[in-house]
Amino acid sequence: MDELEVLRVRDEVLQAMYWMHSEGISEQPTAVELSRFLAVPDTVLIAYLDRFVEDGLLERSGDARYVLSPGGLESGKRTFADEMADLTRPTHGECDADCWCHDSPEAAAECLHDRVGSSHSH
C-alpha cells in the first residue's frame, strides 16, 4: 500500500465520515455505503478502512459498520477546514455578497469588465 495514497484516502474518508456524522446522515456507514458516498469501488476502499482501524482512526461497529474514533473525529474535522482554507479566502478587490453586480447577468458582466479594467470601486 502506497503510504502517500494512504494519507490521501485517509483524509477523504475521515472528512466524508465527519460530514455524514455532523449532518445527521449516517453515524456508522458500511464500506458499501461509504464507497457509494465517495464514488469509489468498495473492493478498493475496504483495505483502507481496515488500515484506518489499525491506526486507531476508525472503530468497527456491528454489521460490518465503521464509526469514527475520537481521534478520527477530530482529524476529520480539522482536515476538512484546512484543505479548503486557502482556496476560498476572499481575494483582493472582492466585493461583498450584497453588491449590485449580483443583481443580473448584465450587471455581473459589467462588473467583470470594470474589474478587468481595474476600476472596480463599489
Binding site: 466524508a16 460530514w19 449532518e23 445527521g24 446522515i25 465517495l38 477546514a81 472582492e94 453588491c99 455581473a108
Partner: protein, 132 residues
C-alpha cells in the same frame, strides 16, 4: 438493433447534465445553508434525498473551484457543522448558468408547442406551450 426508448424515466434522469451545480448555487444565493438543509431544498428542483454523496461531492468540487465557501457553525447540541455560502465567482457562474437555461427553456417551449399540435397536454403544460 435500436434499444427501446425508456418510458419510466425519473425526474432526475431527464434533468440537464450538471444541473445540480447551478441548483446548489441558486439555493446558496437564496441563503447560506448546511448540507442537510440543501438536501431537503433540492427536492422541488427534481433531486432525490437518496444520494447525499452526490451532494457532498458537488459541494466539495464547488468549494475547490472557489464558487462556494464554508465556515464552521458551532452547535451546542451536536457536532459543529459546515455552513456553505456562495462566493463572488459562484454568483458569476450562476448568472451564466441561468442564461444557458433560459436558452434551453426557449427550445423546450418550441418542442412542447409542436408536440401539443397532435397530443393533448395537461392544462399547465398546454398553457406554457402556447405562451412559448
Amino acid at each position: 438493433m435500436v434499444p427501446p426508448i425508456p418510458t419510466d424515466l425519473t425526474t432526475a434522469q431527464v434533468l440537464p447534465k450538471n444541473f445540480l451545480r447551478p441548483c446548489l448555487l441558486l439555493l446558496l444565493r437564496e441563503q447560506p445553508a448546511h448540507g442537510y438543509d440543501l438536501l431537503e431544498r433540492l427536492r422541488p428542483l427534481g433531486f432525490s434525498r437518496d444520494d447525499p454523496g452526490r451532494l457532498y461531492r458537488a459541494l466539495r468540487t464547488l468549494e475547490s473551484d472557489g464558487l462556494v465557501r464554508s465556515v464552521w457553525e458551532k452547535s451546542s447540541t451536536g457536532p459543529d457543522r459546515r455552513m456553505y455560502e456562495i462566493t463572488r465567482s459562484g454568483m458569476e457562474e450562476l448568472h451564466g448558468a441561468a442564461k444557458a437555461l433560459m436558452a434551453t427553456d426557449e427550445v423546450l417551449g418550441v418542442f412542447l408547442s409542436r408536440y401539443s399540435e397532435f397530443v393533448a397536454l395537461e392544462p399547465r403544460k398546454r398553457s406554457r406551450a402556447r405562451t412559448d
